[in-house]
């Protein structure tokens, strides 16, 4: 009986794994098969024309990169600050766990809420209108918990003997942060940021009210009323209008490019994650 249960569980677990892997492979295969015909040099370098039925996605790609760079620049210092607050400056496990719980809760917030928050704060209250900076900051907020929690985990894994040896040498807390904690947590910061960016790159909801329009924007030169084009919003709009076969192909092409972008960001983070796993589990 016990053996039977064992075999049963193994079969169920195997099926679950197969289904999830199958779904992923199927999804990638469909997007690749439908999107590949659209890919060409001019698709990457051309401007959008005829409401997406012709032309390329150059400014969409540029816009998404602008948003990601802004998000990264805004998120990283904040994440480092919060992680150090949790690890070094907060005393007492109770306060730390409060902070961590808040981060986990923030991680679970629907991304459309971040979008609404950004809309109220930046677009309306600060009067920026749709702006690349507003979008970048909202994306930074949405990826903040991922990056911070990854960094906290990395800091936690630093052996106590290093901190002890540095303290015994007479270093104060700030010096220990600079000399021991930050250098050793660098890998965790890079990994966490790349994972956060991979998630942020595909988000539509946070940027659709705050930063991005469908057509007519190029490189922003100001903050106020300076929207950008972006890949996810492009896909979102085209998907509602995909009866035209020319639009359809380009829609799948854009989806394939976005998938490639997200996939390569995750892939870049892989060596760091493997190293961390190795250090933690031998």
């Amino acid at each position: 009986m016990r053996k039977l249960t064992d075999v049963g569980v193994a079969i169920v677990a195997g099926c679950c794994a197969l289904i999830s892997v199958g779904l992923l492979v199927g999804l990638v295969a469909v997007i690749a098969a439908r999107g590949a015909p659209a890919l060409s040099w001019s698709f990457f370098t051309g401007q959008i024309r005829l409401v997406g039925a012709a032309g390329g996605i150059f400014w969409n790609l540029v816009g998404t990169l602008i948003l990601l760079v802004t998000a990264c620049a805004a998120c990283t210092p904040l994440a480092v600050g919060i992680a150090l607050l949790e690890r070094v400056w907060l005393t007492g496990e109770r306060r730390r766990s409060w902070l961590r719980t808040a981060l986990y809760a923030m991680n679970g917030l629907p991304s459309v809420l971040f979008g609404l928050f950004g809309f109220i704060l930046f677009v309306q209250w600060l009067g920026w209108g749709k702006s690349w900076l507003a979008g970048g900051l909202v994306l930074a907020l949405s990826m903040l918990p991922t990056v911070t929690l990854a960094l906290i985990e990395r800091l936690r894994a630093i052996p106590a003997r290093y901190v002890e040896a540095a303290a015994a040498a007479g270093l104060n807390r700030a010096q220990i942060v600079w000399a021991v904690l930050l250098p050793q947590a660098r890998g965790g910061l890079i990994t966490g940021t790349l994972l956060g960016l991979a998630r942020a790159a595909g988000e539509t909801a946070p940027i659709m009210f705050t930063a991005t329009i469908f057509a007519g924007a190029t490189f922003p030169t100001a903050i106020r009323d300076s929207p950008v084009l972006s890949l996810p919003y492009h896909i979102f709009i085209l998907a509602q209008d995909s009866f035209d076969p020319a639009v359809g192909t380009r829609l799948w092409g854009a989806a394939l490019v976005l998938l490639g972008l997200v996939f390569s960001l995750s892939l870049l983070a892989l060596p760091g994650r493997l190293k961390q796993h190795e250090e933690a589990h031998g």
């Binding site: 005393t91 003997r161 290093y162 901190v163 002890e164 040896a165 540095a166 303290a167 015994a168 040498a169 007479g170 270093l171 104060n172 010096q175 000399a179 021991v180 250098p183 050793q184």
Partner: protein, 267 residues
């Protein structure tokens, strides 16, 4: 307590480090009770005693490293040059720069040999780039490691053997120029050759530095220490049961606990 041999320093001179009625509690439970001892300049002061008696806790009370452990409460008095190190105005970081420490397991930072030597020194005082090579060489020579590493100062310190790593840690301590060096069983993780190297170093260093060393090795204590305090457990907490010059404690112990301890460990 036996007063069989003269103190290395004239007894009229004030001790460099003095503990008076030092007690340490963890979560209300006593670990050390009413410890008093006096360490004089240029002395090698040994702390011996059975495992778990609180030797390491006592050692770490002398540079306030116990402050890092939450829930540990230190009472009583420890003075350095007559000034209380637990007084509210004392900066524990400045104290630890004057009272260096060598751990049981060598702790090398994941960086180059040179950066490890300069780790504390370059952060604690203004150290122009031009003076760094000289300080590195000086500290490594003092730690008897220079000849083995002079051609690979920029290579990772983790590639060194454990014995070399411990001497590198000593060089790192020496580069900060402390008055006192605390050593917590510095040779227990090392092979006999490295142990010998460290012991020779201790005997050389005591000309300029004062050393407090915890050791489990009675033969080692006999070879290098001038004065010994034996820490044993009485009523659930560590106490200094006997404190005298090395030969007196090891040759003619007055105390039941010390006799028992010496009978257990191989001499």
């Amino acid at each position: 307590m036996a007063e069989c041999c003269p103190n290395p320093e004239p007894s009229t001179r004030a001790p460099l480090i003095e503990a008076i009625g030092l007690s340490v509690h963890a979560a209300g439970r006593p670990i050390l009770r009413d410890v008093s001892l006096a360490v004089h300049r240029s002395q090698v002061f040994g702390l011996i005693g059975p495992s778990g008696a609180g030797k390491t806790t006592l050692l770490r009370s002398l540079n306030r490293l116990n402050d890092l452990i939450p829930g540990l409460r230190v009472s009583g008095e420890v003075t350095l040059h007559g000034a209380s190190i637990y007084a509210s105005g004392t900066d524990p970081n400045a104290l630890r720069a004057r009272v260096g420490m060598l751990f049981q397991q060598p702790v090398v930072f994941p960086t180059s040999i040179e950066e490890n030597v300069l780790f504390g020194a370059k952060r604690l005082r203004h150290l122009p780039r031009s003076e760094r090579p000289a300080l590195t060489e000086h500290a490594l020579r003092e730690a008897a490691l220079w000849d083995e590493v002079k051609d690979r100062l920029r290579t990772p310190a983790s590639a060194l053997s454990v014995g070399q790593q411990q001497r590198l840690c000593l060089a790192r301590v020496l580069a900060v120029r402390p008055e006192v060096i605390l050593m917590d069983e510095p040779t227990s993780a090392l092979d006999p050759r490295s142990t010998q190297a460290i012991e020779e170093l201790i005997l050389r260093l005591k000309a300029v530095h004062t050393i407090v060393i915890v050791t489990h090795n009675v033969a080692q204590a006999r070879r290098i220490t001038d004065w010994i305090a034996c820490v044993c457990v009485r009523d659930g907490a560590g106490e200094v049961v006997e404190s005298a010059c090395c030969d007196a404690v090891l040759g003619d112990p007055q105390c039941r606990e010390v006799l028992d301890y010496l009978a257990q460990v191989p001499a």
